[in-house]
């Protein structure tokens, strides 16, 4: 494992607008992330754990630039972070075929002009890498199962060979056997392409299985950080203990 930092997050504060409050009241913004510091090292899988609503997805969205309303610093070594979403049923455009979905990231690539042959070759390479066959290319997303769709989502994210992949609860919407397959796929891709993965999950067991480091979040701050084995053995804060108990590990 290299020790280069791919992403450095320094004192990150993110706000959301609160539409329920009157436009005249002062605190119209909700403080979601309260000073997050986090480093992601090159070539690792970093697990981000925490309960629903603690700001995991907010952090991910801030990193990829989907939410620009923040203070603090996010330094990225590569500017090409791609994201995989939780729900494989809404993250693929239902009116497009799989082949089109995979080719689209290359067609709109501003950094390089891809020829048709190059796109075809890359699509074939990726469809193999995500464990699907070429005859899937002509199908629509609603003809695939949840697991296959999540594979395609991962494939779409990989098309431009990003160095960093952010997976936002990629297995939460899937059943256990399919979860295992997708996790295996992520691990394989991690080995094969050397991608750094920021893996977000509320399931500590999943994180234990595949991650090199784990960060536990609660209420917009990172409560604990370390290698999963150590964190799970001697959790420093009570919240981590609670999580471990509820996950049935302790």
């Amino acid at each position: 494992m290299g020790s280069d930092k791919v992403i450095q997050i320094k004192n990150l504060n993110v706000f959301y607008k609160n539409h329920k409050k009157s436009p005249l009241s002062k605190d119209r913004k909700v403080h979601v992330l309260k000073g997050v510091d986090l480093d992601v090292y090159e070539g690792e899988i970093l697990g981000l754990a925490g309960e629903s609503g603690c700001g995991k997805s907010t952090l991910a969205k801030a990193i990829v630039g989907m939410n620009k309303d923040f203070t603090g610093e996010i330094i990225q070594k590569y500017q090409d972070a791609q994201m995989v979403f939780q729900d494989p049923y809404s993250s693929l455009n239902p009116s497009k075929k799989i082949g089109w979905l995979l080719a689209e990231p290359l067609k709109v690539d501003k950094t390089k002009k891809w020829t048709k042959e190059e796109i075809d070759a890359k699509v074939k390479e990726i469809i193999k890498a995500i464990g699907l066959t070429e005859n899937m290319l002509g199908r629509y997303p609603d003809q695939l199962s949840g697991g296959q769709r999540q594979r395609v989502s991962i494939g779409v994210a990989l098309m431009r060979s990003p160095k960093v992949l952010i997976a936002d609860e990629p297995v939460s919407a899937l059943d256990v056997t399919i979860q295992a397959q997708i996790l295996e796929l992520l691990q394989n891709l991690h080995k094969e392409y050397g991608i750094t993965i920021l893996f977000i999950s509320h399931d500590l067991r999943v994180i234990y299985q595949i991650c090199d480091h784990v960060a536990v979040m609660r209420g917009g701050i990172i409560e604990e950080y370390g290698a999963p084995k150590e964190v799970y053995k001697n959790p420093k804060c009570d919240y981590t203990k609670e999580l471990l108990v509820s996950a049935g590990i302790k």
């Binding site: 989907m66 791609q82 994201m83 809404s90 009116s95 989502s153």
Partner: protein
Amino acid sequence: MKKFLSMFKKNKATGKRNTYLIMGTIITGLIVIIVLVGLFYTPYSPTKMDSSAKLQGFSFKHIMGTDHMGRDVFSRVVYGSRITLAIATFTVLIGAGLGTIIGAITGYFGGILDEFTMRVVDAMLAFPSILLSLVFVSLFGTGTYQVAIALGISFVPSFARIVRGEVLRCKNMDYVEVARLQGVSDLRIIFVHILPNITGVLVSTIMIGFNNAVLAEAGLSFLGIGSQPPYASLGNMLSDAQSYLFSRPSYVLGIGATIVLMVLGFSFLSEGMKRWK
């Protein structure tokens, strides 16, 4: 084509035929075929008068009778349907085209532009559309094209509203976020990623729009604006025929039935398309 033919078969899941779609296709198809044939051949010239054969009833010689100037009503109906259909098509093209662009862009970008456009749309929808078309006709002048443009503009607001709603529904889906992350431009997201997902709603709205356009055109011609005599359109023929409503009811019947059939056909089509998938 295969997909088109499959609609006549029974649905495998429910075991039912889509009767609406079949009826709609048959009725509309029949009208379109007659109109197309009418381009090359009508039994009589639609404008040729024959003073010896005024206001006749139904007969084999004149299947819809003749009018007060001795012209063959069927030939005039075929000719008039062509103009009515042409105006309706043009109207829907303008309405749906502009409406889709306006609705999609305002819905996607939101903000002040959206607010402003939607208030203008609200204002336009507040007027009865026939009144709005009358205003536009008085601006553009009477005539076939002018009526089509006037009706088209008065159709824009409702299309814009419907498309905007659909775009709002789609724009927060994850696949739009994915596209944005990949750096797809906003216009490409709107027209390539989102629009194909709302075609279902759009097509059935277009069919209803067609319906309304036929009625609105007939209404405008009935009021005397629209295509001018001696050229026939269903509306101005109806307006001529109303003075003979009691002395020669068969005169009105053929024209009225054609309008009813046309509207019925499009209604069935739009209902059938809603139930298609």
